[in-house]
C-alpha cells in the first residue's frame, strides 16, 4: 500500500469497454481500460526501496484510481512517458497507459517494441499491457516469424492486420488462440486467410464483436457458421468479397447474433433472397446493411409493402424489362415483418439489378429512418420508387440513384421538397431529367455534393441555379453534360467558394488545353481518347481554374468600354485583381 487512506470507492473492473459505435481500426478518443496499477515483474522491484515515512504532500498518497484518472487525460505519449519516472506509484499507474495502444509507425517501431518485450530484465510484463495493435503501417512487411511473437500479448483486444498480405494462414491460425479477449479483428486484404483462421477465431475468441474479412476470398460458409455459433456478441461483420459465401451462414448469423448492427456482403454473389430475408426477420438492431453486387437478390428479399398493390397490368408498365425479376424469384411468400427496422441508417443495393419499385416501397415502409440509400445501377426503378423514398423525409441525407434512367423531373421535384436535409445526391445517367430537376435540388439547404454525370438535357440554366447553393456545395459532377458553356462554369466558380471538386470530363467546351491544364492527371489505365476527354478539377485545381476564368473574363470585359468601372465588386465573390493579364 502506497497510500494510507483506503477509499470505499470501487475500481471498475470492466476491461473491455462496451463498444458501441466505432469499432474496427477507428482512432476514436483515447479510452484507457486501465483501472488498477500494474505489478512489477520481479520481486526485487516490488519491494519499496526504503521504508521511509510518506512525505507530507497530498499527491504522494493519491489512490491509484485517482492517479490513473489524472494520467489518462494526458493523451500525448511523451507526457505519459514523463509521468512514468515520477515515482514508483506513478510508474505503476502510467506504464499500462503507455503500452495500452502502442503507435506503430513502421516496421522499425514494431521491431523495437518486440525487443523490449523479449528482454529478460524488464520491470513489467509489457506484453500484457498491450490491448490494441494496429499493424496497417507495417502492411506487407509483416512477416510470419514476427507475428508469431505477438502471442505474448495475451490480453489483446483489438488487432488490425489490414494489408499484411505476406502473413500465412497457418501462422495467423496458430497465433489467434493466444488472444482469448479479442473483441475486434480486421483482416482486410490478408488473402491467404482460409476457414482455418476463422475457425481458430470461432473456437477461441468468444467475445468477438467485430470482424472484417474484406477480400478473404478463400473463406467459406463453414467457418462463418462456426463464428455465428460461437461468438454471440458479434455486432459488425464485414464479409465483402467472400465469393464462396452461401445463404446458410448469413441466415445463421442473423439468427444467432442478436446484436448484429452492421453487415457487409458486398459482392457475395452467391447470396440470395433467403439469407437477406433472415436478416430482416431477426436482426432488429441492424444499422448498416451493404448488399451491393448481390446480383441474385430480387424483391422477395425485402419486406413487402403492407398494402400490396394489384400486380400492374402489362399495358400499364412503361418499362417492360421489369418483369424479369419475377422469373428468378423462388416460391417465397411476401415478407411481412411484425415491426419496423428503426435503427437502419445505411442500405447499399448497388447493382442489385432485379429489384423493382416494390422492394423500395417495402424497404422504406419498414425502415423509415434510413439516412444513406444507395440504389445505383438498380435500373428498373421508376418515379414510383422515388416517391416511396420521399417518405424518408428529413431522415435521408445521402441518395444515389445513378442509372435509374426512367425517373423524371416529376419525382425529383417531390423528392427535393420532401427530403429537405439531403446532403448528397447522385442522379448520374438519369437522362430524362432536365433543368427543372436541378432547379428543385438547388433549393436543398444542406446540399454538399451533386452528381449529374450524363444528364445530357442540362443547360447553363441548371448551372446558374446551382449557384444558389454557394454556402454548402463542395462537389459538383457534370461530366458529359455536353451543353454546358465555359461562361456558366465561370459563374458557378465565382459563386461556390467551398467547391473543391468539379468534374467536366467530356464537356466539349472544356476540351481546350488552356482549361485542361489545371485538371488532375488522368488515371494511368485510361486510353488516349479517355485521356483527351478527362477533365476533373479538385482542390488547388479548382482554385486555379477559378482564377484563370476570372482573369479571362475581366480581360474580355475590359475591352468593352464600361464607364471606368475597372475595379468594382460585383455581387458576392466577384473580386477583381489588379494584376490581371489583358489578352487580345
Amino acid at each position: 500500500m502506497f497510500y494510507n487512506q483506503p477509499s470505499p470507492a470501487q475500481s471498475t473492473t470492466s476491461l473491455s469497454e462496451n463498444d458501441d459505435d466505432e469499432l474496427l481500426n477507428q482512432s476514436n478518443f483515447y479510452e484507457p481500460v486501465v483501472s488498477s496499477p500494474a505489478t512489477w515483474s520481479s520481486r526485487l522491484h516490488a519491494i519499496p526501496s526504503t521504508a521511509r515515512q510518506p512525505p507530507h504532500s497530498p499527491a504522494s498518497h493519491l489512490p491509484p484510481e485517482i492517479l490513473i484518472n489524472i494520467l489518462k487525460h494526458l493523451h500525448a505519449p511523451r507526457d505519459i512517458h514523463s509521468t512514468l519516472l515520477v515515482s514508483r506509484a506513478w510508474c505503476e499507474c502510467s506504464v499500462e497507459l503507455l503500452w495500452h495502444k502502442p503507435t506503430i509507425a513502421d516496421f522499425n517501431t514494431l521491431f523495437k517494441i518486440m525487443q523490449v518485450l523479449s528482454r529478460e530484465d524488464r520491470s513489467f510484463t509489457y506484453a500484457q499491457f498491450i490491448r490494441r495493435l494496429n499493424l496497417l503501417s507495417v502492411g506487407s512487411n509483416m512477416a510470419d516469424n514476427v507475428f508469431a511473437r505477438l502471442s505474448q500479448c495475451t490480453r489483446l483486444e483489438r488487432i488490425t492486420l489490414v494489408g499484411c498480405s505476406a502473413l500465412s494462414d497457418d501462422v495467423i491460425a496458430r497465433t489467434l488462440p493466444f488472444f482469448p479477449n479479442l473483441v475486434a479483428i480486421d483482416l482486410s486484404g490478408v488473402e491467404s486467410v482460409t476457414d482455418r483462421t476463422v475457425l481458430a477465431l470461432a473456437d477461441n475468441c468468444h467475445n468477438l464483436q467485430g470482424i472484417n474479412l474484406l477480400g478473404c476470398k478463400k473463406v467459406t460458409s463453414v467457418s462463418v457458421r462456426a463464428l455465428a455459433e460461437n461468438c454471440p456478441l458479434l455486432r459488425r461483420v464485414k464479409l465483402s468479397g467472400l465469393v464462396e459465401l452461401t445463404n446458410e451462414s448469413v441466415s445463421e448469423l442473423a439468427i444467432k447474433s442478436s446484436l448484429l448492427l452492421e453487415v457487409d456482403l458486398n459482392g457475395c454473389k452467391k447470396i440470395s433472397d433467403q439469407a437477406v430475408r433472415d436478416v430482416w426477420t431477426h436482426s432488429v438492431n441492424m444499422r448498416e446493411m451493404r448488399l451491393s453486387q448481390c446480383t441474385e437478390l430480387t424483391d422477395t428479399a425485402f419486406p413487402a409493402p403492407p398494402n400490396p398493390r394489384e400486380p400492374p397490368a402489362s399495358g400499364l408498365n412503361p418499362f417492360p424489362n421489369s418483369a424479369a425479376s419475377k422469373v428468378t424469384a423462388l416460391d417465397l411468400p411476401p415478407l411481412r415483418l411484425p415491426r419496423t427496422f428503426e435503427h437502419l441508417r445505411m442500405l447499399d443495393l448497388t447493382n442489385c439489378l432485379n429489384i423493382t419499385d416494390d422492394a423500395v416501397e417495402g424497404i422504406v415502409q419498414f425502415a423509415p429512418r434510413i439516412r444513406n440509400l444507395v440504389l445505383s445501377k438498380c435500373n428498373q426503378l421508376t418515379d414510383r420508387a422515388v416517391e416511396s423514398i420521399c417518405m424518408l423525409g428529413k431522415h435521408l441525407h445521402y441518395l444515389h440513384l445513378g442509372h435509374a434512367s426512367a425517373i423524371t423531373d416529376r419525382s425529383v421535384k417531390t423528392l427535393a421538397r420532401a427530403c429537405t436535409r439531403l446532403r448528397y445526391i447522385d442522379l448520374a445517367n438519369c437522362n430524362l431529367l432536365t433543368d427543372m430537376s436541378v432547379f428543385e435540388l438547388a433549393s436543398l439547404p444542406k446540399l454538399r455534393r451533386i452528381g449529374l454525370v450524363r444528364v445530357s438535357n442540362l443547360t447553363d440554366e441548371a448551372i446558374y441555379a446551382l449557384g444558389d447553393r454557394h454556402a454548402t456545395l463542395e462537389r459538383v459532377h457534370l461530366s458529359y453534360c455536353d451543353q454546358i458553356t465555359v461562361m456558366a462554369i465561370h459563374f458557378l466558380l465565382q459563386k461556390l467558394h467551398k467547391l473543391n471538386h468539379l468534374s467536366l470530363t467530356g464537356v466539349p467546351t472544356f476540351r481546350r488545353q488552356e482549361l485542361q491544364q489545371f485538371c488532375r492527371t488522368p488515371p494511368t489505365d485510361f486510353n488516349t481518347t479517355q485521356r483527351a476527354q478527362f477533365c476533373v478539377y479538385s482542390g488547388d485545381g479548382v482554385v486555379k481554374l477559378r482564377r484563370y476564368l476570372m482573369d479571362l473574363f475581366n480581360s474580355i470585359t475590359e475591352i468593352v468600354p464600361t464607364d471606368g468601372e475597372d475595379e468594382s465588386v460585383d455581387g458576392e465573390g466577384f473580386r477583381v485583381y489588379d494584376d490581371m493579364d489583358v489578352e487580345d
Binding site: T50, P58, S60, H73, L74, P77, R78, S82, V86, T109
Partner: protein, 173 residues
C-alpha cells in the same frame, strides 16, 4: 473510515420533500444540507438507502475538513438537478462547454486544495467532479518534465538509482 452515529431526530427532520442530511467533517463541523443536493454522491446515496432500510437517520461522518466539504457542497449545489455526463467525462464534446468553463473557474485553487477536493470527490464517489479535478491536474503537468511534475505536485522520487537508469523504461509510446 467514517463511523455512523445516531443523532437526535430534531437535528435532521425526516419529513417533507427536501429532507436534510447532517454531514460531519473531520474538524467536527456539523453541516446540514438538503438531501437531493448530495444525490450526485453515490456514497451518500448509499448511506441514505441504508437509512431507509433501518428507518433511522444518522449523521454522516466524513474524513475531510469542512473547508473541503463546503467546496464539494458548492459544486453539488451548482449542478443540482442537472444531468452530467459523469459516467463518461471523456465522451463530453471536447473544447469549450459551459460545464468545463464553470468547473475551471471553480477549481482555480492551489495545488493542495485541488488534491484534497479530488480525494474527497473520489471518497464520495462523485464521478463528474473527480473527472474535472483530474483534467485540471493533468493540465498542470502537461508538457512538463518528470522533475517538474514532481515539483508541481510535491511527489517524492522513490526509485533506486539503478531503477532510474534502467533501460526498461525506454519504450516507444
Amino acid at each position: 473510515m467514517p463511523t455512523i452515529v445516531s443523532v437526535d431526530d430534531s437535528t435532521v427532520p425526516g419529513e417533507g420533500s427536501s429532507r436534510l442530511l447532517l454531514l460531519v467533517s473531520s474538524d467536527n463541523k456539523h453541516i446540514v444540507v438538503e438531501e437531493d443536493i448530495m444525490s450526485r454522491s453515490r456514497f451518500i446515496s448509499k448511506q441514505v438507502e441504508g437509512f431507509e432500510a433501518t428507518s433511522q437517520r444518522h449523521a454522516i461522518l466524513l474524513p475531510f475538513s469542512s473547508f473541503v466539504l463546503n467546496k464539494v457542497i458548492e459544486y453539488c449545489s451548482h449542478y443540482r438537478g442537472y444531468y452530467l455526463l459523469e459516467d463518461d467525462p471523456d465522451a463530453a464534446p471536447p473544447g469549450r462547454s459551459p460545464v468545463r468553463e464553470w468547473d475551471q473557474e471553480f477549481l482555480d485553487v492551489d495545488r493542495n486544495m485541488l488534491l484534497r477536493i479530488i480525494k474527497a470527490a473520489h471518497y464520495l464517489e462523485i464521478k463528474s467532479l473527480v473527472g474535472s479535478c483530474a483534467r485540471a491536474i493533468a493540465d498542470m503537468i502537461r508538457g512538463k518534465t518528470t522533475e517538474e511534475m514532481r515539483e508541481i505536485l510535491g511527489v517524492e522520487n522513490d526509485f533506486t538509482p539503478e531503477e532510474e537508469h534502467s533501460p526498461s523504461s525506454k519504450c516507444t509510446g
